[in-house]
C-alpha cells in the first residue's frame, strides 16, 4: 500500500515540484533552477493594483464558483440524504432511490454538456417556455455560457458526492437518540440542529472535500458551460501545457495544489475526520 502510494503519488508529485523550478523554451525543458514559472504567473500583480492581475482574478473566480457550488450541493445533498435516511423506511427503496441519484453519471461528459444547449440556449426549451408564458419578450441570454450555467452543471454533476457520505453518516445515527429527543420534547428543528447535524459532520466534511477538490481543478465543465470565457485555475494549466510550457504549467499546478490543500486543512480543523470515523 505504501509502495503504491509512493510510486504513483509521491514520486510524480515530486517531479511536478522539481519541474516547476526548471526553465523552458519553445520546445524543451531546461533543467536549470529558475523561479520564472512562478514569477511570470504573477506578472502585474503588484503593478496593476488595485486592479486584480490574471492570477488573482482567476483564483478569486475559481474560489467563488467553488463556494457557490459547495453551498448548493450541500443544501441539496443534505436534504436528499435526510429524506433517504429518515423518511424512506424500506432498504429496497433506499437502494433504488440512491441508484436514481447516479443518473447524471450514465452519460458521457461531452454528451451531457451538449445537451444543455437545447435546454438553456437562445432558442432552447426554457427560453421558448418563458416567451410563450409572456414572462419575457426577448430570450434570456445569461442562461447559457455564464456563471449561472457553470454552477448549474457542476451542482447537477457533483451533488451525488455530497449525498453519499452524508447519507452514510446519517445511517449510523442511533435511532434511539432521535426517539429520546422526541420524548424530551424537542421540536424537529431542534433535533436536526442539535443531534443530526453534529453527528453528520464527518459526512459533510468528506462530501465537501470531494466537491471542493473537484471544482477547484475543473476546467472541462467550466470551459464548456462558460463558453471558454470564464477563467479557471485548471484552465490556465491546460493552456500552458498545450503551449508546451511544462514548467510554467507545473508551477501553476503546485500553486493550485497548495491552495486546495489549505482549504482541506481548514476543513479538517473544523472536524477531526480521523477521530470521528
Amino acid at each position: 500500500m505504501m509502495f503504491i502510494f509512493a510510486v504513483f503519488f509521491i514520486l510524480p508529485l515530486c517531479f511536478v515540484v522539481i519541474v516547476s523550478f526548471w526553465d523552458y523554451n519553445e520546445y524543451e525543458m531546461i533543467p536549470s533552477f529558475t523561479t520564472r514559472g512562478y514569477y511570470e504567473s504573477f506578472e502585474g500583480c503588484l503593478t496593476k493594483l488595485p486592479e486584480l492581475c490574471t492570477m488573482l482574478a482567476t483564483y478569486v473566480k475559481t474560489v467563488k464558483l467553488c463556494l457557490i457550488v459547495w453551498l448548493f450541493t450541500f443544501l441539496i445533498g443534505f436534504t436528499v440524504a435526510y429524506f433517504l435516511a429518515f423518511h424512506v423506511r424500506s432498504k429496497t427503496w433506499q437502494i433504488a432511490l440512491s441508484l436514481l441519484c447516479t443518473i447524471p453519471f450514465w452519460t458521457s461528459n461531452v454528451i451531457r454538456m451538449i445537451a444543455w444547449i437545447p435546454l438553456l440556449g437562445r432558442n432552447g426549451l426554457v427560453n421558448n417556455g418563458l416567451i410563450d408564458l409572456g414572462i419575457t419578450q426577448q430570450p434570456v441570454e445569461w442562461l447559457l455560457y455564464s456563471e449561472f450555467s457553470i454552477c448549474l452543471a457542476l451542482v447537477h454533476l457533483f451533488t451525488f458526492f455530497m449525498i453519499v457520505p452524508i447519507f452514510n453518516s446519517m445511517m449510523r445515527i442511533d435511532r434511539r437518540l432521535l426517539e429520546a429527543a422526541y420524548d424530551a420534547g424537542a421540536s424537529d428543528w431542534q433535533t436536526l440542529w442539535n443531534i443530526i447535524i453534529p453527528l453528520c459532520k464527518p459526512g459533510i466534511v468528506i462530501g465537501s472535500i470531494f466537491v471542493i477538490t473537484i471544482v477547484m481543478g475543473d476546467f472541462i465543465t467550466i470551459g464548456v458551460m462558460g463558453g471558454q470565457q470564464v477563467a479557471a485555475a485548471g484552465k490556465i494549466i491546460e493552456t500552458r501545457l498545450n503551449a508546451l510550457q511544462f514548467p510554467a504549467a507545473a508551477a501553476n499546478a503546485v500553486m493550485l495544489l497548495g491552495i486546495t490543500f489549505l482549504i482541506i486543512v481548514m476543513l479538517n480543523r473544523l472536524v477531526d475526520i480521523r477521530k470521528e470515523l
Binding site: 519553445e26 520546445y27 524543451e28 511570470e40 506578472e43 490574471t54 482574478a57 482567476t58 473566480k61 451538449i114 444547449i117 437545447p118 440556449g121 437562445r122 432558442n123 441570454e141 447559457l144 455560457y145 470551459g223 464548456v224 462558460g226 463558453g227 471558454q228 470565457q229 470564464v230 477563467a231 484552465k235 490556465i236 493552456t239 500552458r240 501545457l241 498545450n242 503551449a243 508546451l244 510550457q245
Partner: protein
C-alpha cells in the same frame, strides 16, 4: 557481443523454421509475414479517413495504424515520445517547435516523385499562375527546407532537404448565418460590430485565434502590423486590449476549441458570425441550415499541413514511409481532399482523379453542373450552386496570413490567458 549475435541468428533460424512450418500447414507463403508493411500515422483525425487507408492497402500493401490526437497533443507527443510514430501529419506552424527539438527527419526531395509538381504556394509563396500571396505568419516557404538532412535550422532558399511534404491546405475565413444576419458581410471588422453583440465567437486556440484577432484589428483600421504573424510585445498587448474590451462588453457568446463545438454554436443560432473551418460550414449546411463561408475583403487566414517522418524511422521502414508519401500525392487522396473542400498539394494528379464537373465546381468556382457529393456519397450541394469564395485562384490568391507560432509565443500565451480571465 559475439555470443549474443550467434544466439540471435539461431533465434532467427528457429523463427524461420516455425514460419515455414506454419506456412506448409496453412498454405500461405511464410515470407509474407516478415514483409508486412506497417506505418504508425500520428495526426489529428482530419485526414485520417478509412477510405484512404483502405485504398492505400489495396494499391501498395501498406497498412496504416492511425493514432489520432488534438493539434496540441500531436505536438506534445512528437516532443516527448518521438519513437511512438513513423509518419506525422502536422501543420507548418508546429514546425517551429518540432524541428529545433531534433525529432524530425529531413526528407530527400529527390525521392518524392511529384515533388516538382507541388504547388508553388509551398516552395515559393505564389500561385501556379505566378501571383504572389500573403506570407505573414508561419508561411510554409519559411519552414519548408532544412540546411542539411540532420540540420535543425531552416534554410532560407529551397534545398534538397524537406521538413514536411505538404498534402492539404485551405483558406479560412468567418462563417456566418445569412438567414439571421440578412445583409451582406464583407469585412473582418464585422466580428466586433455591436450589432452582433452576444452572437459572435472566435477560436480558443492561441496560435490561430490571435491571427483572427489581428485580421479584425487591421480591418477596423486601428493598426497596420508590419507582420501579423510575428508581433512585438506591444502589438500583442494592443491586440489583446481590443479583444478584451469586446469581451467585457459582451460581444462574444462563447469561444470554441473543437470542431463540433463550432458546428453546435452555429446550427443552434447561439452565434451568427464566428471564425470557422470549412468542413464545419459544410456540416452545418448538410443539416439544412443556411451557413456561408464568407469571403472578406481583407483576405483569408490560411493553413497547411503535410507529412513529416520521425527521426527514429530508418532502413526499410523509411522506404515504406517514402512509398506512402509518394502514394498520397499520386491522385486518389488528393481528389478525396479536394472533394471535402480542402486543396491538394499536387493539383495535376488530383485533377486526373476527379470528374471534370467536380473540378469545375471545387477548383474553378463554376456553377455545379450536377449535384456535388462528399467523398462518402452524401449530397453537399445541388446542381447550380457555386462554391463560397469562388475559384482556387480567388481564394488562395487572397490569403493575407498564415497560422503562426511567434517569437514572443510564450508572452502571447500568457496574454491569452489574461484575455480569457478578463
Amino acid at each position: 557481443m559475439i555470443k549474443k549475435k550467434i544466439s540471435r541468428r539461431n533465434l532467427f533460424k528457429a523463427g524461420a523454421g516455425v514460419a515455414l512450418g506454419s506456412g506448409m500447414i496453412t498454405g500461405f507463403p511464410a515470407v509474407h509475414a516478415g514483409e508486412e508493411k506497417v506505418l504508425r500515422y500520428l495526426g489529428t483525425a482530419v485526414n485520417q479517413a478509412d477510405a484512404i487507408s483502405k485504398k492505400l492497402f489495396d494499391d501498395t500493401g501498406i497498412k496504416i495504424e492511425y493514432i489520432s490526437a488534438t493539434t496540441d497533443d500531436v505536438t506534445k507527443r512528437v516532443i516527448t515520445q518521438p519513437n511512438s510514430f513513423d509518419i506525422l501529419d502536422t501543420e507548418y506552424f508546429s514546425l517551429k517547435k518540432l524541428v529545433p527539438s531534433g525529432n524530425i527527419l529531413g526528407l530527400d526531395a529527390k525521392k518524392i516523385k511529384e515533388f516538382d509538381n507541388i504547388t508553388p504556394i509551398f516552395t515559393k509563396g505564389e500561385l501556379p499562375s505566378g501571383k504572389k500571396i500573403g506570407d505573414q505568419g508561419t508561411a510554409p516557404k519559411k519552414v519548408m527546407f532544412l540546411e542539411a538532412a540532420d540540420s535543425t535550422t531552416f534554410a532560407k532558399e529551397p534545398t534538397q532537404w524537406v521538413t514536411l511534404i505538404p498534402t492539404v491546405y485551405n483558406a479560412d475565413t468567418l462563417g456566418i448565418r445569412p438567414d439571421l444576419i440578412k445583409r451582406p458581410i464583407t469585412s473582418w471588422a464585422e466580428l466586433l460590430n455591436p450589432e452582433f453583440k452576444g452572437k459572435a465567437s472566435i477560436l480558443n486556440i492561441p496560435s490561430i485565434g490571435i491571427m483572427d484577432a489581428a485580421m479584425v484589428v487591421e480591418a477596423i483600421g486601428k493598426y497596420k502590423y508590419p507582420d501579423k504573424g510575428n508581433m512585438t510585445k506591444e502589438e500583442i498587448d494592443m491586440t489583446m486590449a481590443v479583444m478584451t474590451e469586446a469581451k467585457k462588453s459582451g460581444q462574444f457568446r462563447a469561444f470554441w476549441k473543437d470542431f463540433n463545438e463550432s458546428v453546435n454554436l452555429m446550427s443552434s443560432g447561439e452565434t451568427v458570425i464566428q471564425s470557422m473551418w470549412s468542413p464545419a460550414v459544410t456540416k452545418v449546411r448538410s443539416m439544412g441550415i443556411a451557413c456561408t463561408f464568407q469571403p472578406l475583403k481583407e483576405g483569408y487566414r490560411s493553413w497547411a499541413s503535410g507529412f513529416c517522418v520521425s527521426k527514429a524511422t530508418t532502413g526499410p521502414k523509411l522506404d515504406i514511409a517514402y512509398e506512402f508519401v509518394n502514394w498520397f500525392l499520386s491522385g486518389f487522396a488528393g481528389a478525396y481532399l479536394n472533394r471535402q473542400g480542402y486543396y491538394s498539394a499536387v493539383l495535376p494528379t488530383a485533377k486526373a482523379a476527379m470528374e471534370p464537373y467536380e473540378w469545375a465546381y471545387w477548383m474553378d468556382g463554376k456553377p455545379a453542373e450536377k449535384d456535388i457529393k462528399a467523398p462518402d456519397g452524401t449530397l453537399l450541394e445541388k446542381a447550380g450552386a457555386v462554391r463560397d469564395g469562388g475559384s482556387y485562384d480567388d481564394r488562395m490568391g487572397n490569403v493575407a496570413c498564415w497560422n503562426a507560432v511567434m517569437d514572443e509565443n510564450d508572452y502571447m500565451v500568457r496574454k491569452w490567458n489574461e484575455f480569457i480571465a478578463a
